[in-house]
């Protein structure tokens, strides 16, 4: 009887493993392909390399933001300040570049300062959440307001006289391939590294069960702090992409990226409760969000239905993911 019980449990865990082996992104990948297929059916040019490349350029900021957000969420937090952080990084970089007359060294310096500003913002978020134990949602909302304030202080309105060269740089080639392609490849590479690294495991441990991670001797606060800082690096990169695309210093850049990046993460199969998932899914999740918009446009759906479709698809995908993961979800962290 006992043995029988064991084998049942074993079979059940086999089924669960199929879904939970960190492969939740498979589903999002399929959805993404399906959307591309649908659009291509009505707009064959959509799948041409040139078009996809151009698309990638506009999607990359969200992909990067969602990628960064995944780290925070995996570690059991959330970051509602990524949108305004994008603006802060953007205006910082542009201001520094402008001060140097957009000379090549000043551009490099501007990018470095931008990342530094992003890292500082991420560090503040991380410090408040990890060390002061502030509740993440409301904390990052509050810091987000502050980032906007700082961005407006640095540059009250958009502009900055950024030269077209920056756009050429962003849309240009690097070692025979477009820069954005390299970035995406690097993201996949990094995901692999994360999966293979002890940091990835530790991050998931902290997000999955912080007290247990602490009792095991993991530096929980430091890991959570670094999750916010890593996020801020990707957010800075997202900000640079926006800068390359819009060649404008804009204190309102990145509006809406916070909630959209969270949606992308959820669509990518990462549990918002933390501990389960990974950044690859978020890449596909972000692509899905963008593709839904394109599908709506190319299918010629009336303007007034567009948002409805968008919402329905989002909720539908989440519900499907919920049903799937409900079947194999771990005991939620705190049953109490």
């Amino acid at each position: 009887m006992v043995k029988q019980f064991f084998s049942l449990a074993g079979a059940a865990s086999g089924v669960k493993m199929f879904f939970l082996k960190g492969e939740a992104w498979r589903l999002s990948f399929l959805v993404m392909l399906a959307l591309v297929a649908v659009i291509t059916a009505v707009q064959p040019g959509y799948i041409l390399p040139y078009n996809l490349l151009v698309k990638l350029r506009t999607w990359l900021p969200l992909i990067l933001a969602a990628y960064g957000q995944t780290f925070v969420i995996l570690g059991g937090g959330i970051d509602l300040s990524v949108g305004t952080m994008i603006a802060l990084v953007n205006v910082t970089a542009v201001e520094v570049m402008a001060a140097g007359g957009f000379s090549p060294p000043s551009i490099v310096l501007g990018l470095l300062c931008g990342i530094a500003a992003g890292l500082a913002a991420g560090a503040v978020n991380g410090f408040c959440v990890a060390y002061l134990r502030f509740q993440p949602i409301i904390t990052t909302f509050a810091t987000g307001i502050i980032w906007t304030g700082l961005a407006l202080w640095i540059r009250p309105e958009s502009g900055g006289g950024v030269p077209m060269e920056l756009y050429d740089l962003y849309s240009g080639q690097f070692l025979f391939f477009p820069l954005v392609v390299w970035v995406v490849l690097a993201l996949f590479g990094l995901s692999w590294v994360l999966k293979k690294s002890s940091f990835g495991v530790h991050l998931k441990a902290v997000g999955g069960n912080a007290p247990a991670a602490f009792e095991t001797g993991l530096p929980v606060a430091r890991i959570r702090l670094s999750s916010y800082m890593i996020c801020s690096v990707f957010v800075s990169l997202a900000s640079f992409c926006i800068l390359g695309e819009t060649i404008t210093g804009n204190p309102y850049a990145g509006q809406g990226y916070d909630l959209e990046s969270i949606s992308a993460v959820a669509l990518g199969g990462t549990s918002l409760a933390g501990g389960i998932g990974g950044p690859v899914g978020s890449v596909f999740g972000a692509a899905i969000l963008k593709l839904v918009n394109d599908a709506i446009f190319f299918l010629g759906i009336p303007v007034n239905f567009q948002r409805l479709m968008q919402g329905l698809i989002l909720v539908g995908a989440l519900a499907a993911g919920g049903v799937l993961s409900k079947k194999n979800r771990g005991k939620s962290k705190d049953e109490s």
Partner: protein, 504 residues
């Protein structure tokens, strides 16, 4: 050699004193048993040693080096490994990841060195393999495992760290006999390697089997330390509970057979099998046996929490189907759990709300005045001897015993006919225990019946008119009359007299 010593450790949690000057020391090559009643501070002491709990005062030394401002990380580095009572596993990670958590072998870039890690895992797992089901993989997520296997994973996790000092906090509570045997084998080998081992268990026979020395705690400090060979069971029990427990309590009024208040035929559920029972008015029906054999599941099934797969349940002869606690409450059932933090109390809410939550649910009027509620609690509060400041204070400001009284009060306010008690005296002091026993007797005299699950055999035998002995989800024996004694209960629980068990 003294590996570890803890001196006059004090720790308060809010109003509760968990440790009030505990001393402890551990030598290499010994299994040092830590024993004491529930809530006496054993786990807290372990957590102080491992740095999970920061003591208010006192010192911990490892090999004569003072551990200052201990964190789990620091204690691990100094060679302390702990199997926590509540486990420290991450459910969403695989068994392998959990075992190696925080000590994975990585290369310079932080990338896991798979082969090395696998080797380490293999080495540890080889010993345990037979206890895991066929086809089990180390890649299985921990949440998919049964509690006993999770406990084994937690043990492997500590062994993987190869610490010099090992602390096992009630590791055997959820293990089967073969699993325990294997575990004790491991303990022997660790001993041979001159490791120091702290072992906590409430089962005396285990203590005598593996222990070398024993420290007994009461009320947050040690009250005695001795080698196992020079102490008797009676002495241990005496040290544990002190002198107070002299007055032997025994339910005075015997059960007078009357109507059946609750009865069941062939009840089967997730973890209970074909249970028949009958509960007469005024009776206390005990549930006994080893812990975790389906007693709680049985109570939860009666209370509508666990689903009933087969069988019929009758309330005063009427077939009833109880699908939720609310329905059970409407049939005048009440459920009192000793695991109050999890199942009973709303720590951050007021005493008043904790008392009235169930009463209000059964009220026909959806609205109430708090003043009126307060007034109507008076008699119950007096009955229970509840000590409190005002009813608007959070219940967390009460001591555990008083919290437990609040939960009992919650159900008394509903005038229950059948009281289901699930180890209600866990972490309750002797005086309060006695109050509870007397209260239950009064309730029975007033026409209630009680089903009482207890992990404390003494308590069970003192209170119950009959005892159903559980094993693997079944009732394997019913004890009553002169059979109500420890040896019969014990034999039944272990299946000694059961012919079906003999062949195993």
């Amino acid at each position: 050699m003294t590996l570890l010593s803890a001196q006059s450790i004090k720790k308060r949690f809010g109003g509760v004193t968990a440790l009030s000057g505990a001393d402890f020391d551990l030598r290499s090559g010994e299994v040092h048993v830590l024993l004491g009643s529930n809530g006496c501070g054993k786990s807290t002491l372990c957590k102080v040693i491992s740095g999970v709990v920061r003591p208010d005062s006192g010192t911990v030394r490892v090999k004569d080096r003072l551990l200052e401002d201990i964190t789990p990380r620091l204690s691990r580095e100094r060679g302390v490994g702990v199997v926590y009572q509540e486990l420290s596993l991450v459910p969403s990670l695989s068994v392998a990841q959990n075992i190696l958590l925080g000590m994975e072998k990585v290369n310079g870039l932080g990338i896991l060195r798979d082969t090395k890690n696998e080797e380490a895992l293999e080495e540890i797992f080889s010993e345990f393999r037979d206890l895991f089901p066929r086809g089990f993989s180390l890649e299985t997520m921990v949440h998919a495992l049964t509690p006993d296997l999770q406990q084994l994973v937690e043990i492997m996790k500590v062994l993987a760290r190869d610490p010099e000092i090992l602390i096992f906090d009630e590791p055997t509570a959820s293990l089967s006999k073969e699993q325990i045997d294997l575990f004790f084998g491991i303990l022997d080998r660790l001993k041979a390697k001159e490791k120091g081992i702290i072992f906590i268990s409430h089962k005396l026979e285990e203590i005598f089997r593996v222990g070398d020395r024993i420290t007994i705690m009461r009320g947050g400090k040690h009250v005695g330390c001795s080698t196992i060979s020079s102490i008797t069971r009676d002495e241990i029990v005496h040290l544990m509970v002190g002198d107070i427990f002299q007055s032997e309590y025994r339910k005075s009024s015997p059960y007078r057979s009357g109507r059946e208040l609750l009865g069941g035929r062939g009840l089967s559920g997730r973890s209970i099998r074909e249970i028949d029972f009958s509960l007469g008015q005024g009776e206390i029906l005990g549930l006994g046996g080893l812990q975790g054999q389906g007693q709680r599941a049985f109570l939860l099934t009666l209370f509508g929490v666990e689903p009933l797969h087969e069988g019929t349940l009758e309330r005063e002869g009427r077939a009833v189907s109880l699908k939720s606690p609310k329905q059970a409450m409407r049939e005048s059932l009440a459920y009192i759990s000793g695991d109050r933090k999890k199942y009973g109390v709303f720590l951050i809410r007021s005493i008043l709300e904790n008392l009235f939550i169930s009463r209000v649910i059964l009220n026909t009027m959806p609205l109430f005045r708090r003043k009126t509620l307060k007034g109507s609690a008076d008699s119950v509060i007096q009955d229970l001897g509840l000590v409190y400041d005002t009813l608007d204070r959070p219940v967390s400001t009460l001591s555990g015993g008083n919290q437990q009284k609040v939960i009992i009060g919650r159900w008394l306010l509903n005038n229950p006919a059948v009281i289901l008690m699930d180890d209600p005296t866990k972490g309750v002091d002797v005086k309060t225990k006695k109050d509870l026993y007397e209260l239950m007797e009064r309730m029975c005299q007033a026409g209630c019946s009680v089903i009482w699950n207890s992990s404390d055999d003494q308590e069970l035998l003192q209170n119950a008119d009959r005892v159903l002995v559980f094993r693997e989800g079944r009732v394997i024996r019913e004890l009553s009359g002169k059979d109500l004694n420890e040896s019969t209960l014990y034999r039944a629980a272990l299946g000694v007299d059961d012919p079906a068990e003999e062949g195993r």
